[in-house]
């Protein structure tokens, strides 16, 4: 059986899946001060009738790293940046302990300036004096050749508890994001590791062996032992769990929209051919733009409990929530109250809802029904216009080839999935407005935990081959090797597939789950002085976000 646990901001949910059927659900309040307590509580509840020996797989989606970052409960980090030319240091400094050092490689990974060991050991001494135990080292273009980062790391590693290296965070270009990602990784390393240690200790008591996976922001999982190397990947797994949940409760291969309508906010996600879309570069957390692969979501400030106000001839819904709906004793009218008045749902106390909406109707000088209808429609309108903006943004993303300009695929969703409290009353109208067939998945209240349970292991890999230099780089794995001049694109493709497979299995993937996709495939002739001097080959591949195999979407009951 599979145990899936989603530690959310308010509740911690757990499901026990037996042959992909929900055998048991449990829900406890999240203890924000001690997430482990909530975990233990929900696990005990769900395993009350069973022994731990029934477990084949446990998957955990946790807000541990996210909370640490959002609440500023992070370690002090010393940052060492080999920034080379470009943006001024003032735009790159991420905290008071950021130090700039000499040494950098250019866009082709050729060293232009070497590192200065005296300079580095002085900085290390300075950081040590301040009691700093965690260090991030990031070099410009380190994804092209990481040796500046590794050389700096090697020279000071014995002085610190842990060192995070920029090139291990992602194979993508973007120096400021690499700095932020590395910084956050170093900053949550301690908190995350002690959390994982406690989990291991707790599980150790079971005296039985099963793999434990942690959910990442991209909707994929990695094995717990791997997760401690790069804890920052576990941030924002909550929205990812919700999207994977919808995927696990439904069965589609079309372009689709998924909405999770909560009390305060609505989260939007888009699927292309049944696969959830990823953020182009990485997720953003607490103002930090990162290189962390994450599912593409947009959160808007409207939900069932948004405050409704009519002022100066203008109807305002949200973004703030000041309490529950009036029908549940809340202080202000809400879209939920409007839905109650319209008879779309029969929750709460109808009289209270009517009284609250009557106030708005009076200001608007319309009937109670018309006021409720206007509020309801306007709430739907706010959501659908954000959905359309998001789709436009995806379809108008810049492309860099003539082929893509003329043949590029456009997302045209035909399906709408809605989960969350107001899903039932709102879904039909939203579907009409978006021109989509509407579905409300069952078991939606534990969708996140189910999504986490069934998420497969994902990862990506970047292969760069420069046949003029004669080098092959797979930066995520820290691999650099020599290649012959006649090395071709096909060779790079093969290496990329093999190494991606190896990497995924190391991270905990099963052979059957390796649904691989080439995401970048470019080969340029490098011409110098009218002669072809070599090839610049760039291949990127990923294991797509999706569900573990032997499991057909929509089978969960």
């Amino acid at each position: 059986m599979i145990l899936g646990i989603d530690v959310g901001g308010t509740h911690t949910d757990a499901v026990l899946l037996d042959h992909y059927e929900v055998k048991k659900k449990a829900k406890v309040l999240t203890n924000r001060e001690n997430l482990l307590d909530s975990l233990l509580e929900v696990t005990e509840e769900i395993l009350s009738d069973e022994g731990p020996e029934i477990l084949d797989r446990v998957v955990l989606s946790t807000t541990m790293s996210t909370n640490a970052i959002v609440q500023d409960k992070i370690s002090k980090v010393g940052m060492i940046l080999a920034s080379g030319p470009g943006l001024p240091p003032s735009m790159l400094r991420i905290n008071d302990d950021t130090h700039f050092v000499s040494g950098y490689v250019n866009h082709r990974g050729v060293e232009v300036a070497g590192i200065d060991h005296d300079e580095i050991s002085k900085i290390a001494g300075n950081l040590r004096e301040k009691g700093i135990e965690h260090v991030g080292i990031v070099g410009k273009f380190s994804t092209r050749d990481p040796h500046i980062e590794t050389d700096i790391g090697d020279s000071i590693h014995d002085k610190f508890k842990h060192i995070s290296l920029g090139h291990r965070m992602s194979g993508n270009l973007n120096f400021p994001r690499r700095i932020a990602t590395t910084y956050l990784n170093a900053a949550v390393w301690d908190t995350y590791n002690s959390f994982i240690d406690s989990i291991k200790e707790f599980v150790g008591r079971f005296k039985t062996d099963f793999p434990i996976y942690i959910l990442k922001a991209d909707g994929g999982t990695f094995e717990i032992g791997q997760s401690v190397k790069c804890p920052v990947q576990t941030i924002l797994s909550g929205p990812a769990a919700s999207i994977m949940g919808i995927l696990s409760l439904t069965n589609f291969k079309e372009d689709a929209i998924a909405l999770d309508i909560g009390g305060t906010t609505t989260d939007i996600a888009i699927f292309a051919g049944g696969i959830p879309l990823l953020e182009p570069l990485g997720v953003t957390i607490k103002g930090h733009k990162t290189l962390i692969r994450g599912l593409r979501t947009r959160s808007i400030g409207i939900g069932g409990d948004s405050r409704v106000d009519y002022e100066n001839g203008e109807l305002k819904i949200g973004p703030e929530r000041i309490g529950p709906a009036a029908a549940f004793g809340g202080p202000s009218p809400t879209p939920t109250d409007a839905m109650i008045v319209l008879g779309l749902t029969d929750i709460g106390e109808k009289e209270k809802a009517e009284k609250a909406i009557a106030g708005i109707a009076k200001s608007m000088n319309v009937s109670l029904h018309d006021a409720a209808e206007t509020i309801f429609h306007s709430a739907c309108e706010t959501i659908t216009s954000s959905v359309r903006d998001m789709i436009d943004e995806i379809n108008n993303a810049p492309v860099y080839t003539v082929h893509e300009m003329f043949e590029g695929k456009k997302i045209e969703p035909t399906l709408l999935y809605v989960v969350g409290g107001p899903a039932n009353p709102m879904a039909p109208r939203l579907g009409d407005m978006l021109g989509c067939t509407t579905h409300i998945p069952e078991n939606a209240e534990v969708a996140n935990a189910i999504g986490a349970s069934l998420a497969r292991t994902t990862t990506e890999l970047t292969v760069l081959a420069d046949t003029e230099k004669g080098t092959l780089t797979i930066v995520e794995e820290g691999i650099q090797s020599e290649i012959p001049r006649e090395f071709e694109r096909e060779d790079a493709l093969k290496i990329c597939m093999d190494k991606l497979r190896e990497r995924a299995i190391k991270m905990g993937a099963k052979e059957d789950d390796l649904e691989i996709e080439i995401t970048e495939d470019q080969s340029f002739n490098m011409v110098r002085g009218y002669y072809t001097a070599g090839k610049n080959i760039r291949i990127k591949a990923q294991v797509k976000p999706g569900l573990i195999s032997n499991f057909q979407k929509g089978e969960t009951r």
Partner: protein, 434 residues
């Protein structure tokens, strides 16, 4: 510096080349892309990337006479690079951004009014198409184009030669030492637009000092007097000290400084073929300067200001030239009478060589002398492709007399000896072929 909202239209055309080893090939903006991405410029709160639109045949026919038609002289890639320039203009004119940079290829400033094929890697003139698009959509504007490509922008000069509302300034390596061999100070505009074409040829090995001297002491003062509604930088990057096909000593920091001081509303990439050593840094410098950011840390890995310093002879030469050209500009209004006397029409005959496509063209251009507009224009052009054409062009903001004469000229033009006869009326957005 104040931060500005800057739009970036980036289209490197990674699948398009003139030929596999041509400087205008797939690889050209590869390292620029790497540098721009690695610097994270697109993440900045005041930098916005936009997908280019597509230019239409109508946009091309507003400015060019393509022989036999627009479709025959272009590829899809040209529609995107011209479309990218138009997108840049749209974003600025709708005030979505303060300025915009179309970092697109292929380039356009060697493409002249009549197009029989490609010359100087250019098929259609993407800035000229953008300029007339702006006027068509947003009303007539006074526009200054400052062409900082190392090669004389002979195509742009040809197109705006008779237009007193477009001040075209080209600063480039002396034509005696570089393609296309033109662009001397005495090329000064047609009789109705004298002084609105300005050429500033600089000697080989001119460095930052010389470029910025000409900018501060000639270009900026002329712009102050011309008072354009829009300033466009035709941003070629082949003045760079590492460029393989030119001989100048301009640096990335120099380009950035130039853009900071010039403060163009729109910049459009032209040439620049030092794809690894110059373009990544020059483009990052230009974007940062346009966005009002501190670009002082942008420098080429091998930058050594002492090595590329210009000689004192060059400095003196440029000082002299700048003051002579400024005199010429100051006296532009008094020269027309002397030049045209009592002639009703002015005629010029030229041979034009299309180096990229190997075509020869013989062209005779006749402009009506007019004090009220740029003057009605007729062109008789014969190319080695075998095509002979006649074109009648009624300029933008044309006076009634020039329009009437133009319409008559087209009506009475016999198709007999010509393969095609064209009529182009900018104000009315009319383009007819017979």
């Amino acid at each position: 510096m104040n931060a500005k909202k800057t739009g970036l239209i980036f289209f490197p055309a990674f699948d398009w080349a003139i030929s596999p080893t041509h400087p205008e090939r797939e690889e050209r903006l590869l390292y620029t892309q790497d540098q721009v991405f690695e610097e994270g410029l697109l993440d900045l709160d005041n930098v916005f990337e936009f997908k280019p639109g597509l230019a239409s045949t109508e946009d091309i026919n507003r400015i060019h006479i393509c022989v036999p038609g627009a479709e025959s002289v272009i590829t899809e890639s040209h529609l995107i690079s011209a479309g990218g320039a138009i997108t840049a203009a749209e974003k600025v004119l709708t005030k979505e951004v303060d300025n915009a940079f179309a970092l697109v290829r292929p380039p356009g400033h060697h493409a002249m009014r009549v197009v029989h094929g490609a010359r100087g890697f250019c098929n259609i003139n993407i800035e000229a198409i953008m300029v007339e698009y702006i006027r068509h959509k947003y009303g007539h504007k006074r526009i200054a184009i400052v062409d900082t490509d190392c090669h004389h922008g002979d195509g742009s000069q040809d197109i705006f030669w008779h237009d007193p509302d477009t001040l075209y300034i080209s600063i480039h390596q002396d034509g005696r030492t570089l393609y296309p061999g033109s662009g001397f100070p005495n090329e000064f505009g047609g009789p109705n637009a004298l002084g609105y074409t300005i050429n500033i040829p600089l000697p080989p090995n001119t460095s930052d000092e010389g470029f910025l001297f000409a900018l501060d002491n000639l270009i900026l003062p002329m712009l102050d007097e011309f008072k354009p509604d829009l300033i466009i930088n035709s941003a070629g990057q082949d003045n760079h000290y590492s460029d393989p096909i030119t001989n100048m000593n301009f640096s990335a920091n120099g380009y950035a400084t130039l853009n900071e001081r010039l403060s163009p509303d729109i910049a459009v990439l032209e040439g620049g073929y030092s794809i690894e050593s110059a373009l990544p840094y020059v483009n990052v410098g230009i974007i940062m300067a346009m966005a009002g950011l501190d670009y002082s840390f942008v420098r080429e890995p091998d930058y050594n200001p002492r090595e590329i310093e210009q000689s004192s002879e060059i400095s003196r030469y440029i000082e002299d030239e700048v003051s002579q050209i400024y005199e010429l500009w100051k006296n532009r209004h008094s020269q027309k009478a002397e030049m045209v006397k009592d002639a009703k029409y002015a005629r010029r005959s030229r041979s034009i060589y299309y180096d990229t496509d190997g075509i020869n063209e013989e062209q005779e251009e006749t402009v009506r002398i007019c004090d009220d507009c740029g003057g009605m224009l007729t062109i008789d052009s014969k190319a080695s492709t075998g095509n002979r054409i006649f074109a009648v062009i009624v300029p933008g903001q044309s006076c009634p007399a020039c329009r009437e004469k133009g319409e008559k000229a087209f009506e009475s033009a016999e198709t007999g000896q010509y393969d095609y006869v064209y009529f182009q009326d900018r104000d009315r957005n009319i383009f007819i072929v017979k």
